[in-house]
């Protein structure tokens, strides 16, 4: 595998490992992408029987750099704690694939891509659904010569993709691990996403979505969107533990705003940092496109209002995981999926991990979570005679 390293904010210019499908993809909205690129990374070796592949699906702001230094940010892979040699998702044993979602901004076709007429898609990029993302991944898997995935795993929006995979391609998924997710996006989650979108729209640098024409990016709006979303990834307990009400000195370049308000709480500084680093790596129109895909996700509604019928007759083995302090995708939403799978007669395990770290727990070093994943995968591997 060729490691592409090009640190810095030039993500648009970074060349990502990818495959381009010249026949494009028909989208759920009725539009058709004439060409489709899927950027991806792999870790470990595909066995001779091609039966040990695990697809890792990323969340809203994740990407394909699951378990290696990120070429744009220079940071560790977003699931380095879980994926690697000897880790719960063991790359000595499994061939792990990470793909940037359709609509993303790390190399897969999305709003920042150039369309066939030579123009950037921008806001003309068609609306994407979770199912479209999964269809693009299916093409990638076929391209890699893999008939059946040993497992599909992902948290948050990644978990939505896992559920969609299991519903649409049950014969192609031996094990499915939807983590900290739900079968639909709740009204509250739609509301938070909408705040983020409105913050982007409100930034004049968004320029009606045509910002690539001027080189200015809607950094303030996207930063506010990220700040707001970031609060929902944590828990009140985690925020209290990490920051409490501690004040810190105002930075030297704080200017009149800080002069007005005096000391700054650490939690504010932390959030501002989250916002300002995010905008260097993420495309605002991708943020709009992907949050919309999450909002539209409702797997039960797609199956006549009965989530169980999405999984009827499935032979896929499921492990659902939720985290006790996650209020973005709270445990009852995972439990509802577990119940539907039970109604469908599926083989399903459901574990709620006790954690005070909120939704973010799925990305963090949570030993109970990692033991659960490792154990489930080992059991499945034995069944699959891997």
């Amino acid at each position: 595998m060729d490691q592409i390293v090009s640190p810095g904010p030039a993500s648009a210019e970074t060349t990502h490992q990818h495959v381009t499908f010249e026949d494009g993809l028909a989208l759920e909205c009725g539009a058709r992408l004439e060409r489709m690129t899927v950027a991806y990374r792999t870790y470990g070796m595909l066995n001779a029987a091609r039966t040990n592949a695990v697809l890792v699906c990323h969340a809203l702001t994740g990407d394909q750099y699951v378990a290696e230094r990120h070429p744009v940010t220079g940071k560790d892979g977003w699931w380095d704690v879980l994926v690697g040699p000897g880790k719960p998702l063991d790359t000595d044993r499994f061939f792990v694939i990470g793909a940037n979602v359709l609509g993303g901004c790390m190399g897969s076709t999305g709003p920042r891509s150039v369309r066939p007429n030579g123009e950037v898609w921008g806001t003309e990029f068609p609306p994407i659904t979770i199912r479209d993302m999964v269809r693009a991944q299916k093409r990638l898997i076929e391209h890699l010569g893999i008939a059946r995935l040993f497992a599909v795993i992902g948290g948050s929006m990644g978990g939505m993709q896992v559920l969609q995979w299991a519903a649409d391609y049950p014969e192609n998924v031996f094990a499915a691990l939807p983590i900290a997710t739900a079968s639909y996006h709740s009204a509250q989650n739609i509301a938070f996403n909408e705040v983020g979108r409105q913050a982007i729209f409100a930034d004049p640098d968004w320029q009606g979505g045509q910002y690539w024409r001027t080189g200015a990016i809607p950094a303030r709006g996207l930063g506010v969107a990220r700040m707001c979303a970031h609060i929902t990834y944590l828990s009140e307990q985690a925020l209290t533990r990490k920051f409490g009400r501690r004040l810190q000195a105002a930075p030297k370049d704080a200017g009149e705003v800080m002069a007005l308000f005096g000391g700054m709480f650490e939690v504010e500084s932390y959030l501002q940092h989250q916002g300002s680093t995010f905008v260097r790596r993420f495309d605002a129109n991708s943020y709009l496109t992907i949050t919309r895909a999450m909002d539209y996700f409702d797997l039960g509604a797609d199956h006549g209002g009965d989530l169980a019928s999405a999984f009827r007759g499935t032979r896929t083995r499921f492990l659902l995981v939720s985290f006790s302090s996650d209020w973005l995708f709270p445990t009852p939403e995972s439990r509802a999926v577990a119940r539907a799978l039970n109604r469908a007669g599926a083989n399903v395990s459901f574990v709620e991990i006790g954690s005070d770290k909120g939704h973010d727990a799925f990305l963090l070093d949570e030993p109970d979570f990692h033991r659960t994943i490792a154990g489930f995968l080992s059991g499945c591997a034995a069944h699959a005679k891997l």
Copy 2:
């Protein structure tokens, strides 16, 4: 009392009933307001003994128009369900006072006021604390010839003021009713406030806080701030019950954004409406000033880290109320205040009202809540021989 009715967005120009203290007010930050105006409204009649006065303290975006048609918005008073003839806070029995907080924008001295040098304060307005707000109210009460309030009541930031009143002026408060509040602002609440402030700062129409010079207001930033805050006032259950995942048709003037994303969820339309109506009545710099006052509030820290010592020896009777689905000021935060009052040997009742309406419940028609208030006030009135 003269009712001032002037509907429309011209709140800055509306004349509000007020009193001006020419000797100003020394603020906690060390600065001094050379003159101070407090805008207020009263309902009912003060009795001859001047013993039946109830001060109603408003929340972040409330004001003095507690129980009458609002002169700027034309809407009912924000606590019309609770305050009025024959209502739980009975204006046939009590003399009810509502005052716009210091730092507000409905007539009391705040960032929109003209300072002695003839300039608008704007971002030069000094930082205000909850204690400063209470000191301003104390001046108003003295001006009205009232030595002791029969009761002080308020929800959310209004409840913070109630706690501050009880701590600072125990001899002047017979009964205190802090509703849906806490003795300090949590890290998560500071974080949400910070998102709102950053959204305002991000709006170029904020113009470094000097927007009154051009007539443009930072409507987009303030609107996003309101949208984000509004989610925290509701509960997931309330949002699901009211909107669920229902779609509505895009408005005719939706333009390219809606063309891109197709149908809109009802919850989005609702939030956008909340944002756009709010900016017509509220001043962005006041929003900055008042959210900051909330964030700085920590009554226990002000008393050496022991909240009980804020109330030691008090003879005030307390009723604390929380709402089961309120996640902005959750029940444990009220319970902590109740415990501190118990440690201080205070006379305290604490009731958690079962409601799925979130923080907003304190503003809504919640019969259990209203019965609780009415009962407590009646009992106190008997004790006070009213």
